[in-house]
Symmetry: C2
Subunit: 334 residues, 2 copies
């Protein structure tokens, strides 16, 4: 039974989860959870690296994220859901890993470089933010994860972890496996409803799993389509048309999709009609999730208990790893 490979995954609790998370990771987790020993981390310590001045936001979203997990069908009986800050062993390991990475190497990390630019930190970047790949290496290895599901843009983080693991194994004792990235089959991200590449809370272009039926419809009706498609009879363009991009992802009837696209391209199919079609599909997917979410969010004590138990389990595993680390580093004095 203990031959299941270990997965580490998770989310920053900076807001409720959206359709981008659903497509990019949540669906995949539901699929994987019975075949893998899956650890799902609510990454509050990582969220605090760029939200340290706003602890209320992070705290509030712990339960929101947990509701989303349970609502989509992540099963706490098989997946271990836990809160990062309640595993102090991760911080302990992070401090030792900081010795195995140069500042120059962290400054070269492409993912972090991009984020520093996007967030406009410039030379005010904090040590916590620059070092978060080291903290991630600790997250992954403290649970001996074999696999880390990531988007292609996060591959440098896994490379950094592998470098640290090699260095640790080489200097001390070879106690860690080199984790591997698990890039999901579904290609790429779901764009925002405004057509921007990334769906995100800060861009205000996200559809949340917790959105009401009316909000969902309103957002779909406001979606970016083909700006030159003015009259119904005009031919429309599919490329860059967000509504069709969503239909491609969510409509499983591929013949119907092909027909719809052809009709739109030759003219005579209005945006409102296409959007209504998308609305039907998304309502059907999100309605049961929304209902489940209501059930869970009406009982925060039960969900807190789930997090408590997951965190206890995770902590036990982390403590076992830290015992090995202390022995390998010869700091197991008594």
């Amino acid at each position: 039974m203990e031959t299941k490979k270990i997965i580490l995954t998770g989310d920053r609790p900076t807001g409720p989860l959206h359709l981008g998370h659903f497509v990019g990771s949540l669906q995949n987790r539901v699929k994987l959870q019975y075949d893998y020993d899956q650890h799902i981390m609510i990454a509050d310590v990582q969220a605090l690296t760029d939200n340290f001045e706003n602890p209320d936001k992070v705290r509030k979203n712990i339960l929101e994220v947990a509701y989303d997990y349970l609502a989509v069908g992540i099963d706490p009986k098989t997946s271990t859901i836990f809160i990062q800050s309640m595993i102090p062993e991760i911080a302990d390991l992070t401090v030792f890993y900081l010795n195995l990475v140069t500042v120059a190497r962290l400054e070269r990390n492409p993912t972090v470089k991009d984020e520093i630019r996007q967030k406009g930190f410039g030379s005010n970047v904090t040590a916590g933010f620059l070092c978060y790949p080291v903290s991630q290496a600790a997250d992954i290895t403290v649970f001996n994860a074999d696999l880390v599901p990531v988007g292609a843009d996060q591959l440098p983080m896994i490379e950094q972890t592998v470098e640290i693991v090699r260095k640790f194994n080489n200097i001390y004792e070879p106690i860690f496996v080199e984790p591997q990235a698990m890039v999901p089959e579904t290609g790429g991200r779901l764009s925002g409803i405004d057509g921007q590449a990334k769906m995100s809370k800060s861009l205000n272009n996200a559809i949340y799993l917790s959105d009401s039926a009316e909000d969902l419809k309103k957002k779909i009706m406001s979606m970016f389509t083909d700006p030159s498609h003015i009259r119904v009879e005009d031919p429309g363009t599919i490329e860059g048309n967000t509504v069709f991009a969503y239909i491609d992802v969510f409509d499983t009837d591929k013949d119907r999709v092909a027909e719809l696209k052809a009709h739109y391209q030759r003219g005579g199919l209005g945006d409102v009609k296409v959007k209504k079609h998308l609305n039907d599909i998304l309502q059907a997917i999100l309605e049961p999730i929304r209902e489940q979410r209501k059930t869970f969010s009406s009982d925060p004590a039960q969900v807190t208990q789930i997090l408590r138990e997951g965190t206890q389990q995770a902590r036990q595993k982390a403590a076992q790893t830290m015992n090995k680390v202390r022995k390998a580093m010869k700091i197991d004095y008594f």
Copy 2:
């Protein structure tokens, strides 16, 4: 009883302690220990920042340093002696503090800058080394230390801690006191026996508290004096003469010292005679320490028990602080 001010102090376990430590800090600790709530940390985590490839050295010197402490009269009944790596709460706090300091600020720290230059790290400086002032801030504040005995060269470290404390108190809740530096009365450092400014293991110019009587004598006889004082009848120079520098520190009979200096300066007093005088004084000081050290080092189990108890006490205090930190940062979920 709980109104005693709290001191945090300690040493990196990278070698047994020497006469420089004795003059610069150990004597002071023995004096202060009944009037203050003194915490003495064997800083193995900090030692690993620039000895991470040599864990054996750090491990071996934990007990060596403890023997030195006990030999000079540090009383574990009143001073709490503990091992840094066994207080994971320090790492936990360090990770949160990393968010409160910019990389640029750490790179400007004059003490760290000097050390990076001295150790020749250049652009290969590790994140662990650059960030060790943040780890020190955690060491100090996790015990709520009011006072930190430091040499003048370490003042920037206390400034860094005060900055972090102010930022934490301001963003979260004002739970920390701003620690103050406690610069010892005895001015400056004891030079090495070769006349170099710093006594250190790597320079091979140190007199250890654990040196045998013969080794002590041999080292004194090899000390740097006045290179132009060739014949006994020649006038000698006091300035820059290491033997007289030591006599100034250790000979409490100031009239005799003045007389000796005058004789040396006018000529007719040989270096060997002056060195023999210093040897008499140092043997008298170090002999009882050496004997005590032998007693303790013949019973490592007893000393380990002292460290175990001190570490337990320290950990309880650190855990209390971390409870406050978690509450202030709103990450006290359950």
